[in-house]
């Protein structure tokens, strides 16, 4: 579905959950260049109780209408979150048209049905479909970003996404191949290029987003994560070895079953921590590199906060059979907003609107259905 807590938000597309990057608050405070800038925090004012009622009523209506209402449900939920994301007391506005979204979803469902049936009847057909999908992916990404941008506004000025298929194709296919050939070493570069592509093609009115280079900092981040991963594998290996020596004396055989459980818990916890670390760092680095006219960002997400948030969310959602979902989404968004501050030189009054063309929702809906997002 479309909740921002689940996907990393698109740049500008989901303004209530601004992406991210870590720049320690002390650094910023000590930088003299920032001194004359006005600090405008992103404020998230949604309430979990109110969102729960919206969520559950819209889910019930979706079921009653056999899914047709889902487009309206999506728009209402998005409008709720956009409006509750405020900068300088002004909320964001989501203008998505439910009918356009419904059309996109119908097309997406048909494609998904063809895809799953093709696989059952003929593997060759499935390969053809996968190739077609690969050709379509850049188009889907571009359309999806364009639709979200076109339907997002702040102070009655729309966002606009001007990226082209060709440019997106180059990033994904070329750098994607490079990543595969280099056995993954190129991945941080791919990720950095993809985020740069998404960011610098966004406009707020006529003001184009600018973004600094991310490659070096991304490499540093991924290397660190990779190092921690290797280290924990070594530690785990040694632990298993030591344990099996110790127990073999009395038991003469494999490890008893119970020993596996702490390892499984440690493994899942480690995965979660690494996931949170990458998400926090990549988000912080991205946002702190972006400039929109007189506006810069200070994003200070912390990995351990995010990891704690995720753990509590998962436990709460499982324990309540899913009913805690709205609460989990709201608190995640509130945390993200609370760690994002705008540094504004002058004021926010001087942005000028641009010409915007209507965008169909197909790309966004199909992308949603096949569950890929470019993870900003």
């Amino acid at each position: 579905m479309d909740e921002p807590g689940r996907k990393e938000p698109h740049l500008g597309g989901n303004p209530y959950a601004y992406p991210t990057a870590e720049r320690a608050a002390i650094n910023v405070a000590s930088a003299p260049a920032q001194a004359d800038k006005h600090r405008s925090p992103v404020v998230f004012t949604a309430s979990a109780g109110e969102y729960f009622r919206i969520w559950i009523v819209n889910l019930a209506l979706t079921i009653l209408t056999l899914g047709i209402y889902s487009a309206w449900a999506k728009v209402r939920k998005k409008r709720y979150f956009y409006s509750h994301t405020r900068i300088d007391d002004d909320g964001f506005e989501y203008r998505g048209n439910p009918v356009a979204i419904l059309k996109g979803r119908i097309i997406a469902v048909i494609l998904l049905a063809i895809y799953s049936f093709a696989g059952h009847f003929s593997p060759a057909l499935k390969i053809v479909f996968v190739i077609l999908l690969a050709i379509a992916v850049p188009w889907l990404i571009v359309r999806s970003l364009a639709f979200n941008a076109f339907n997002s506004a702040y102070r009655n000025i729309r966002l606009h996404f001007g990226g082209t298929y060709g440019e997106c194709f180059k990033v994904i296919v070329l750098y994607g191949l490079l990543t595969v050939i280099s056995l993954g070493i190129g991945y941080p570069y791919l990720k950095a290029q993809l985020i740069r592509f998404a960011a610098r093609n966004h406009h707020y009115g006529t003001t184009q987003f600018e973004i600094g280079s991310l490659t070096r900092s991304f490499y540093r981040t991924y290397l660190k994560a990779f190092g921690v991963l290797i280290l924990s594998f070594i530690v785990l290996g040694i632990t298993v070895a030591v344990l099996s020596f110790g127990l073999r004396v009395g038991n003469r055989g494999a490890l008893p079953m119970g020993v596996g459980i702490p390892f499984a818990v440690a493994g899942y916890g480690g995965y979660l921590l690494l996931f949170a670390y990458l998400r926090a760092r990549i988000s912080n680095l991205t946002f702190n590199a972006i400039t929109i006219g007189p506006v810069q960002f200070e994003s200070t997400l912390r990995a351990r906060d995010l990891a704690g948030l995720y753990v509590v969310n998962i436990v709460a959602i499982i324990a309540t059979l899913g009913l805690a979902t709205p609460w989990a989404v709201v608190r995640t968004l509130r945390y993200r907003a609370g760690k994002t501050i705008l540094l504004v030189a002058g004021g926010l009054d001087s942005f000028v609107a641009g010409q915007a063309r209507q965008v169909a929702a197909t790309g966004e809906a199909v992308g949603e259905m096949f569950d890929f997002d470019i993870g900003l």
């Binding site: 689940r6 509750h84 000025i157 979902t325």
Partner: protein, 350 residues
């Protein structure tokens, strides 16, 4: 006269102009610093209300008014966005939220217990038999790779049992190429599995456990029921459907909650296969009678299986084994209906 405060955005720049809005003679009069505009009501579009979020009024030429004064807007535009205004009324009250919750729970329960099986059966009917047979062949391959090895049964005995299956399936007229696959599957114990597409795997231990051929026939008749009713394929489809449904309901959550989907799906699968066992049993009784055998042989082999498992104390999962105690609420969680119940039914069907 209605009057409210708002902020005016002209749509050309991001500058904000606080204004006082008065409603007079079917028009809105906007008054602010260097601003004095009159807009007829008919040209104003009001957005639908979502929660207590700020309202946006769209004016001609792309300008907007933003205001928190819901009462004033309700008085001025009582008929705007009828449908979504109604949805908003539902969203406002906890009572409706509770009703929605019960509706969702009911719908989920209904689709899991009634809807999904019907849809899965409908979809399964579209799958050609040769594709089903391919699925079965893949399953057999997996069994051979993991649990089973070649049967030690003599060729004569194998042929006799194939003939027995032929007797059982003669006149069924359902185009399935029924045949037995003999295997020695140590860990599985005495057992038989129906694979999609017509193959029936029989373990050597089962042949050894049976005292006579009619008892084997009873087991085969049960497995034929599974094949004919496409239980394997339907079970796979139903489980996939249930997983998709649960994912759709809980899908709003953070992506790493996949675990929350796996657990309920596994529980549901148990409930489904239990129903299929009952169906296959009923088929078996009918089949046995059709070729002149009594369903009491089914009861006999079930008792022998139960004795076997009681003796070995084995906790292996098998197709024809079950706990005699699983009754009541927990019954739905057990793979097979309680054995005692099945034996009683077989005896009642003599």
């Amino acid at each position: 006269m209605t009057e409210f405060s708002a902020v005016y955005y002209d749509g050309r720049t991001s500058a904000r102009t606080p204004v006082r809005v008065r409603a007079l003679d079917h028009s809105l009069h906007l008054v602010g610093a260097e601003l004095n505009i009159e807009v007829p009501f008919a040209d104003v579009r009001v957005d639908a209300r979502v929660g207590d979020t700020r309202r946006i009024l769209s004016l001609p030429g792309g300008a907007q008014l933003h205001t928190d004064d819901h009462a004033a807007l309700a008085a001025l535009f009582p008929r705007a966005n009828r449908l979504e205004a109604w949805v908003h009324e539902l969203e406002r009250r906890w009572g409706y939220a509770l009703a929605a919750l019960m509706l969702i729970a009911g719908a989920a329960w209904w689709s899991v217990t009634l809807g999904l099986p019907v849809v899965a059966k409908w979809v399964a009917d579209f799958v050609p038999i040769d594709i089903e047979a391919r699925l079965g062949a893949e399953t057999l391959y997996a069994l051979d790779k993991s649990l089973c090895t070649r049967s030690a049964l003599g060729a004569d005995r194998q042929q006799a049992l194939q003939k027995l299956l032929g007797t059982l399936t003669s006149g069924l007229n359902d185009r399935y190429p029924y045949h037995l696959e003999f295997r020695a599957c140590g860990a599985v114990g005495p057992n038989a599995f129906a694979l999609p597409g017509g193959a029936i795997v029989v373990t050597d231990a089962l042949i050894k456990l049976a005292q006579n051929d009619p008892q084997i026939a009873a087991v085969l008749a049960h497995e034929i029921g599974h094949v004919r009713r496409r239980h394997g394929l339907r079970l796979a489809l139903q489980s996939a459907g249930a997983a998709a449904l649960i994912a759709a309901l809980a899908g709003d959550a953070v992506s790493i909650t996949g675990l929350a989907v796996i657990l309920p799906t596994a529980l549901l699968q148990n409930g489904y296969s239990r129903e299929f066992e009952n169906e296959a049993d009923a088929d078996a009784f009918r089949r046995l009678k059709a070729i002149g055998l009594s369903p009491k042989y089914f009861a006999e082999i079930m008792m022998r299986l139960e004795d076997y498992h009681a003796k070995t104390g084995g906790r292996q999962d098998g197709d024809t084994r079950d706990t005699a105690t699983g009754k009541g609420a927990l019954d739905y969680l057990s793979t097979h209906p309680a054995t005692a119940e099945r034996i009683a039914r077989a005896l009642a069907n003599q």
